[in-house]
Each structure stands twice: as structure tokens, then as C-alpha cells.
Amino acid sequence: MRTGVSRRVVIAAAVVVVVVGVFALTASRSASQAVQATPARPARIEGKPNLNGIWQAINTANWDLLAHDVKPAVAQRGVYANHPVLAAPVVALGSVGIVPPSLGVVEGNEIPYKPEIAKQKQDNAEHWLDRDPEVRCYMPGIPRAMYMPYPFQITQSGSKVQMVFAYANASRTIYLQEAPKPPADTWMGHSVGRWEGNTLVTHVTNFNDRTWFSRAGDFHSDALDVVERFTPITPDALKYEVTITDPNVFTRPWKMNMVLYRQLEDNATLMEFRCIELVEETFLGHLRKNQLVKHWEGDTIILDVTRRVPEGDKRYER
């Protein structure tokens, strides 16, 4: 009798549970099979502007922060002292080796170097290829990462804003909540952020003295202190303002202003820009057992640029 009841109860329970279970499994399966498409972009994240997406500066600040005319990427003296021509590293590139003109991004078009330090920038510019950390595929630092001519992706949540830069796989985290400070100097700095209305304000410190602001040789010390302001002008454009303070190098704080644009392509994707491997020939080529570039003299690369006159041109050159 007892056995009979319990058996009946077990069977009944089993049937109920099996029915419910099958239903639940079916439901969860159909839910899991419904693969979500690209999610719609909410206008705000925890009440703040939604900056999630792939962005890029459209300017030539990375070439030169100041206003400039077209100029050779690498120059040598031409016939006229004030009209340099393309130099060996880029002479074969023709117009690809030319820096485009720009109005510049610096407020007042002046970077206020201390007088005794100003010549260092000129010296850097003259030895650009030897010294620029970008040429070596080093992490670009802040603010330079923001206006290199390559995209970066913002992943924004309520507690952190992560930015990953295509170039060199560099990245930064903007901490919106309490976080410890790094134990040593860094290339990309330590960013602490807060929202002021619709503006994301960051304070970036803990820099080393090895990054530059641009290919024109503008530099800083490890006392660099950066304040950035990201303000949406439209959902797809950000006003980007930077205040640079470094009492070791500059007489006063100075500012940059530019706009960052969202990539609006449906298939916008942050792709790898791995440069480490491709710069090995530039910096280690002379240490190969069998050199690929045949004109190393000691540790000096002698570039003989060979350009054949194309068949079509020869007709006119006869």
C-alpha cells in the first residue's frame, strides 16, 4: 500500500517534471538559437553619453601639431634653402612621401617650450627617424594615441572606459571608479575619469619621458600631466580638448582642440596593426648574419633607392 502510493506519487511527479522540463529545455533552446543581430546602440549608458564604437581623428596632428604647409616626410636641402625636397628614405615614394597641409590643432598655434629647451624639439625633428618612438612601433602615449591616423575602439561601461588602438595593439583604461595607481611609470599613462554633464573628463598621470606628441619632435618629461575633455557634438562626433602641463618642459599649460569621428560603416572593425615584426628590419637588419638590405655600413643604413624609369616615360626622355 505504502509502496503503491509512493510509486504513484513518483510517477505523477515524474510526468509533471518531464513535461515542465521538456518545455523549459525547448524554451531555452529556442532562446539560445535566436542569435542576436548587432545590438542597437542605446543613446546613453547609465545616464551618460554612449561613446561605444570605433573612432578616428581626421587630421594631420600626428605629423605636426602646428599649422604647416605641404612638406617632405623626410627632407633634404634642395636648390632653395626654404624649399626642401624629398630625401632618400622617401624619395621613391613620390607624392606618398609628402606630409599634407594642416591648420594645426594647438590653441594660439604655439607650443610654449622653455627657452633653454626649445632647441631640443628642433634637434628631435632633424633626427626624427632615429628618435621617434612611433617609428619603432612603441606605444604612443596619451594624447598622441588619440590622433594617430588609425582607428581605435571605445568600450564604455559605468565603471570603466576601455580604449584599444589599432596601432601596436596599444590600449588604455579610464577608471571611473576607485583603482590603485601603477607602481611604475607607464607609456600610456594612468587615466582617471569623471563625468561633468555630458563631458567625460580624464586626468592622466604616471607617464614616462619617452613618448612624443607628434612626428615633428614635440616631447615632454615624466612630469607630464594631461587633462582631456570628450564632449559629444553629435552622436557621431566628439569634441576632443587636451590640456598639457609639464613644468620641466613648458612655461605654461597649453591646449589642443580637435574632433574625433565615429566610423559609421556597417562592418566597421578594429583590425590588427601589428608593426613590431615589420620594424625588425629597420632596427635589427644590420645584425643579420646574411643581410637582406645590402648597404649597412656598421650600424648605419645606407639607402640606395633604385627607381627604374618606366617604359612609358622613356619615350619622352629619349
Binding site: 554612449n50 618612438p133 564604455q156 601603477p182
Partner: protein
């Protein structure tokens, strides 16, 4: 009748458990303000789990209490063994030998030893025996060819088989080399980590000083992971949440083309388009990864991946790992800066050229007779 009832009862219990588990995960998994499962945080692990399973456990994924107690005692015993500094090389005191010097790191750098052991018998859960599937004949040959090349470059040195210096020293590597090989003709002869290439997905975290930490930040249309791992081999990995198709086959990426989607509370990441510079347990450009991230509770992130490559393995295989949440207020992931400070690669090439020059001038041994490859690894 009685048997039927029992079978039903077992099925019922299993079903009830399934419902309970799914109900539990649905209520427990925290969500972002925009309604997605919240996987964010800084994650790592301090609990040892072997990658492959000790055959003694058969097809069981979990140890019994007694097995766990025994395995933990063995781990603690292993921790008492002499460290790297005092180990023997070939039955003789190792200190000062070529191999010892090439180890580069002494005991000091290895920090605390892991003392926690998981009940999991292995990260590898499929095949059900917890062991790697066999290599295909094609992969077996590929791996044997490379091994023979490595052996040829070591031939006649203190770390290699006896014989004359091999003529193969003049040959290029049969694959895109990422191994530590006994030659430094150019940067391509040095290993991937020495060239600061950084790690690639999938990352399995280790325990202890070099175990690694990952930081996961999440937005509605992307999940951005930074792996701080492997002495400067860290990297950023952005997984877009998108329905776009994979990139054209002609585009090959070192870390692959990742596409993420949500399946219930699980982030599923499909990764293809790897390059021949990618290397994962014998697989190269044909690797296809399906990675699953799921939060089991407030402090546990389960990371599972299935790896398939019909040119390498006879069947797909799956591994799983549980990561523990670290305190955001006291834990910080750090930038690697490997390439920026990589004087080692320069030094290897520079030293080898200097040794060749000295040898040519009759002032030193032939660098080809020296072993610069077998020391320094974690395995000895």
C-alpha cells in the same frame, strides 16, 4: 513497473536539477544597465587545475574527497622539493652549468607556489577522457619535421645529440618559426615571446607569479579584454558583438577575427582567419575557436573553448576553466611594454655576430657548437 518508476524518478530528478540550475543562473547572473549579462571585472585564478587529465580518473571530471585530499598532499609535497636553483643537471650539481646560466631566472622570481587545488580533474573535458585528441597524420609529420630541424640545429652541442655541426643550420625553418631554436641568424630565428609578439587567444590562466590576470570591460556592442600575462606577452582583445560575417579568407590575423554573440547568458565568440604566425598546441592558420564566457555567480567566470582544426587534430576538443573575481579597488592590470624594452632580442643577435667575428679571428669557439636553446625554459 518498479524499474520504470526508478528510471522516471532519475529522469525527473535530472530535469528538476536542470530547471533549478538554469533558474539559478538566470537570477544570479548580474546584468548591465542595458540588459546584457554582466561579465565585467578583473579575473584570475589561484586554484591549480591540470590541463590534461591523469588517466587514473578515467572519464570523471571531478575528484572524490579522498582523491582530492591525496592530490593536494602531493602538491604540497612537490612544493617542498628543491627549487630551480638547486636542481641537478644530468645527475650532477647544476649550479654554474651552461644550462643553469641559460635558465635566466632563479628561484627568487617564481614567488609563491600554488597551494589550492581544484576538484576538477582537468581543464580538458572533451574528449571525455580529458586527454588531447591525436594529431592527424599531416600534423604528425609537420611536428616531426620541425622537431628534426630543432634537433639538427642542436646537433654536436652540449644540449643536443652527438654528431657534426649540421648543414641544416643554413636552411630556413620548415614552418614560420616561433620556437626557441639554436640559431640567431636574424630576428626570425628567435621565439615569438622573445620578439614580443604577445600571446594569442585562447588564453588559459595559470596560478602563481606568472599566472596572468584579465580585465574585462563591456559595452553594448563590444567586449574588451586585456590579458596581462606571460612576462609582457599581454594583449588587448576586442570582441565586437555583431552579426557581420567573418573577414575575407585572404585576411589572416595573428589573433584571428573574433565575432561575439549572446546565447542566453553566455557570450559566444567565434574566431577564425588566424595566420601562419599563430601557434596553438600544434595548430596554426586553420585554427577555429569557439569561446564561451559565462558568469556562474558573482565571483566566478567560466571560460570554455572548443578548438577545431581538421588539419591538426582528429577531432575537436573542449577545455574549461573557472576564474575568480579580483578586487577592482586593489588590483590593476599593467601594460606589458615588452617590445619597448626589448634589448634581449638585440643582444642575442649582437652577441652571436660578435661570437662569429671572434671565432673567425681565432679568439673563441664556433658559436654553432654552443647550446643557446635548451636552457631557460620553464620545464627544467
Amino acid at each position: 513497473m518498479r524499474t520504470t518508476a526508478r528510471v522516471f524518478a532519475v529522469i525527473a530528478a535530472l530535469m528538476a536539477a536542470t530547471i533549478l540550475v538554469s533558474a539559478q543562473t538566470q537570477t544570479k547572473a548580474p546584468r548591465t544597465p542595458w540588459g546584457a549579462p554582466d561579465l565585467q571585472g578583473i579575473w584570475n585564478t589561484n586554484t591549480m587545475v591540470p590541463f590534461e587529465r591523469n588517466p587514473q580518473y578515467g572519464t570523471r571530471q571531478r575528484m572524490t574527497e579522498e582523491e582530492h585530499a591525496k592530490a593536494l598532499a602531493e602538491l604540497q609535497q612537490r612544493n617542498q622539493r628543491p627549487g630551480r636553483d638547486s636542481r641537478e643537471v644530468g645527475g650532477k650539481p647544476g649550479i654554474g652549468t651552461e644550462k643553469d646560466v641559460a635558465r635566466a631566472y632563479n628561484e627568487f622570481w617564481f614567488g609563491d607556489k600554488p597551494t589550492k587545488l581544484s576538484y576538477r580533474t582537468s581543464m580538458l573535458v572533451d574528449p571525455p577522457n580529458g586527454r588531447m585528441p591525436s594529431y592527424t597524420p599531416e600534423a604528425t609529420k609537420r611536428i616531426a619535421d620541425k622537431r628534426e630541424f630543432l634537433a639538427a640545429l642542436l646537433q654536436g652541442t652540449s644540449g643536443g645529440r652527438p654528431g657534426p655541426i649540421s648543414a641544416r643550420r643554413a636552411e630556413p625553418s620548415p614552418d614560420y618559426n616561433l620556437d626557441r631554436i639554436n640559431r640567431s641568424d636574424g630576428p626570425e630565428d628567435r621565439g615569438g615571446p622573445e620578439r614580443c609578439f604577445g600571446d594569442t587567444p585562447p588564453v588559459t590562466m595559470g596560478t602563481g607569479t606568472f599566472g596572468g590576470v584579465m580585465q574585462l570591460v563591456q559595452g553594448p556592442d563590444s567586449v574588451s579584454i586585456y590579458y596581462d600575462i606571460g612576462q609582457g606577452q599581454g594583449f588587448s582583445w576586442v570582441v565586437p558583438i555583431t552579426s557581420r560575417p567573418h573577414l575575407p579568407k585572404s585576411v589572416r590575423l595573428y589573433r584571428g577575427d573574433a565575432i561575439g554573440r549572446w546565447e542566453g547568458d553566455t557570450l559566444v565568440v567565434d574566431v577564425t582567419n588566424f595566420s601562419d604566425e599563430t601557434s596553438f598546441r600544434g595548430s596554426r592558420e586553420n585554427l577555429h575557436l569557439i569561446q564561451r564566457f559565462r558568469r556562474l555567480d558573482a565571483n566566478t567566470l567560466q571560460v570554455e573553448f572548443t578548438a577545431e582544426d581538421p588539419t591538426t587534430w582528429t577531432q575537436p576538443w573542449t577545455a574549461v576553466q573557472e576564474l575568480e573575481k579580483a578586487d577592482d579597488k586593489t588590483t590593476l592590470v599593467l601594460e606589458g611594454g615588452c617590445h619597448e624594452g626589448n634589448y634581449g632580442l638585440l643582444g642575442m643577435l649582437l652577441n652571436t655576430r660578435a661570437a662569429e667575428k671572434a671565432f673567425a679571428e681565432g679568439k673563441g669557439p664556433d658559436p654553432a657548437t654552443q647550446d643557446n636553446a635548451t636552457g631557460g625554459g620553464g620545464d627544467n
